[in-house]
Amino acid sequence: MTALLRRELRLALRHGSDTLAALLFFVLAASLFPLAIGPAPETLGRVAPGVVFVCALLAAILPLDRLFGAELEDGSLDQLLLFGLPAPLLALVKAGGHWLVTGLPLLLAAAPTAVMLRIAPEALPALLAALLPATLLLSLLGTVGAAVVLGARRGGVLLPLLVLPLATPVLIFGVGAAEAAASGLSPRPHLLFLAAMLAAALPLCPLAAGAALRSAAE
């Protein structure tokens, strides 16, 4: 398993522009909002958590269609399925790779971006605490989506249509945590909801993605 994860990271390193593209998309999309709705701190600060979350969601989806698409095209998917790991574990490795390469950099870029959007200082820790499970969830859900659309014509278009609805609860509770903290309430219930979703997705998403990978290979 570690050998496969190392392969993922090495590939990401060699194709560093893919990671950088998602990250730059995130920062650029977020910085369009001050231009569109004006730089007044009160309006901008109020929408900041939502903007950060939506942009992170969209940026995380960007590299997904290559997650398995590239492997299918060059025949690597067959070799991966014959690696000797059960297909769900293979999907878990892929989701982990996606998080390390896309989710983690987004998490790191979120703090400066939120500050740029003049987020309320007391909401920032809650936002980041919510983004950690949220990015993990996005990687898991995205892996399912990427595996399901594998081999479909125009899979790249289908993918966001499949993943975004699944990701709405993540968005709602994630932004809820930051807004609760901004209005002086405890973000804990929202964070616990996110943690519960993560606990459910961690076994279920790899199982679904693994089954989809097997059927894509057939």
Partner: protein, 194 residues
């Protein structure tokens, strides 16, 4: 010993083949021939556990081989149409996740000098040789080869013959689909219909 009994498969509502049976003893080799679309690649994928078996059975050492796919995957080395090579990684890095002995495997296909070269700089034949090197990384007793010598020069085919002979001498079996003559001595032949 690899046994196939009454194997049938359907691709896109078309029956590709049915009632296919053969047995390969340790060290045996089977050549799959037949026109394009006869189901040679499909059969290899089925044997690798990558396809869906509609009817029939695949047995390895007397036990149902496809019941436990991860365990079967460890027994199988599959070489597909495509080389499964990442152009961004070097030749050695392309092999490394699949097992140890990378240097020896590269030497066996005559690519030792190019180990640190990015795979995108390799020629088509060299990529095929790199894909062949993957067969040597794990002691898999079943080799499933789809057009293994496509694009290889005479020297590489000879080296590949040595690989095949070594594998069979160690008790491994080989099933190969091909239109070209392969360096396989005393191989049985199975002609699939069109």
């Amino acid at each position: 010993m690899l046994e196939v009994e009454g194997l049938a498969t359907i691709r896109g509502e078309r029956l590709v083949f049915a009632g296919l049976s053969f047995a390969l003893p340790a060290g045996g080799a089977l050549l799959l021939t037949g026109p394009n679309g006869a189901g040679k690649s499909t059969l290899l994928r089925l044997l690798a556990g990558l396809g869906r078996v509609e009817a029939g059975r695949v047995r390895w050492q007397g036990k149902d081989a496809l019941a436990d796919l991860p365990a079967h995957a460890a027994r199988v080395a599959y070489l597909g149409h495509q080389d499964a090579i990442k152009p961004g990684l070097t030749a050695a890095e392309n092999l490394r996740p699949w097992g140890g002995g990378t240097a020896a495997a590269l030497a066996a296909v005559g690519l030792a000098a190019l180990a640190e070269l990015p795979a995108r700089l390799l020629s088509a034949g060299q990529r095929r040789r790199l894909a062949l090197a993957r067969l040597l990384l794990r002691p898999a007793p079943i080799w499933l080869l789809d057009e293994p010598t496509l694009g290889l020069d005479a020297a590489s085919v000879a080296r590949f013959g040595v690989m095949l002979a070594g594998h069979r001498a160690a008790g491994g079996v080989v099933v190969a689909a091909t239109h070209l003559p392969l360096p396989l001595a005393a191989a049985a032949e199975l002609v699939l219909g069109g």
